[in-house]
Symmetry: C2
Subunit: 199 residues, 2 copies
Amino acid sequence: MKDFPQPLADLIDELKRLPGIGQKSAQRIAFHLERGPREDVERLARALIEAKERVHLCSVCNNLADRDPCAYCSDPGRDPSVVCVVETPYNAISIEKTREFHGLYHVLHGSLSPLQGIGPEQLKLKSLIDRLKDGKIRELIVATNPNVEGEATAVYLSKLIKPLGVKVTRIAMGIPVGSELEFADEVTMLKAIEGRREI
Amino acid sequence: MKDFPQPLADLIDELKRLPGIGQKSAQRIAFHLERGPREDVERLARALIEAKERVHLCSVCNNLADRDPCAYCSDPGRDPSVVCVVETPYNAISIEKTREFHGLYHVLHGSLSPLQGIGPEQLKLKSLIDRLKDGKIRELIVATNPNVEGEATAVYLSKLIKPLGVKVTRIAMGIPVGSELEFADEVTMLKAIEGRREI
């Protein structure tokens, strides 16, 4: 035998398919599970199946949710006139953590990236246009990532949506709070100066 | 809603219990699985259960195996007079990869660490002593890690086993092959000099 027992090798192979998990991490996790109680493994296996079975995309905003519409879209306390466009459900969580945004979301599930073959058709854009049709949305806050793809997506959205009479805004880029100017790269510094506000 | 849908939150919690997986990695893995096909999740869940169900400790050497005795212990082509003592099944794999060791293994499942409350009783030592009783083992190669705990374990084993008339050896410590002297720490350098051999 040059290698692991087959069921262990199979588990390591499956774990390696997960993002950020290489051979060493997969081995470490597999050995950890072999050492621990059987209940732990069963609970993990059950959580995997449950999450896949019960979590789906919200038919309105495309967020991950265990009901439809999702908890955001079905909350009467939120302001439906402001919609924040994000790349992933995870980004919506980041914004939610500020506790200051009370509008709704729209999850694109990606950003424009011609190099990776991701064009407008691959993003959840059609449903966004549909949401804008009844005229109830006043402002669209584009919170895609501040990188090449996210910027391209923001510009694309702006050109597509402004003609519909909806205000399109972009989140501010600048020096992170608690950071020091010394460590800011030139582009961030430039964005910080360009985006300066009177105090 | 301030957080993930419950089944997703549950999955993230379970993933976070795995070694080396923090909140961010767990989220990333969970989102990856939600995006991917259902079959992938089912295959992972099945691999987890299978590995736990079918892999057990070898009753002779304590290696992880899907049969008993394990593939090493039941291989008539291996030399039962030399036993290599390792801390984990993973370490046995590392030695196996050299393709030059043809003896058997004994897995301690840990190393002596009084600070962590791991004494001789917590290691698979009794079964090692039992294996030595019939006098067929000539040499015990101690391949525990070259750190404080591994060294303490090696010294402990040596004191315990030498009186039984069995040769106890320790793997060599020194400069790693392909490395440069410049990058060796003092202790490794000292071990390399102490362990010098005539050429």
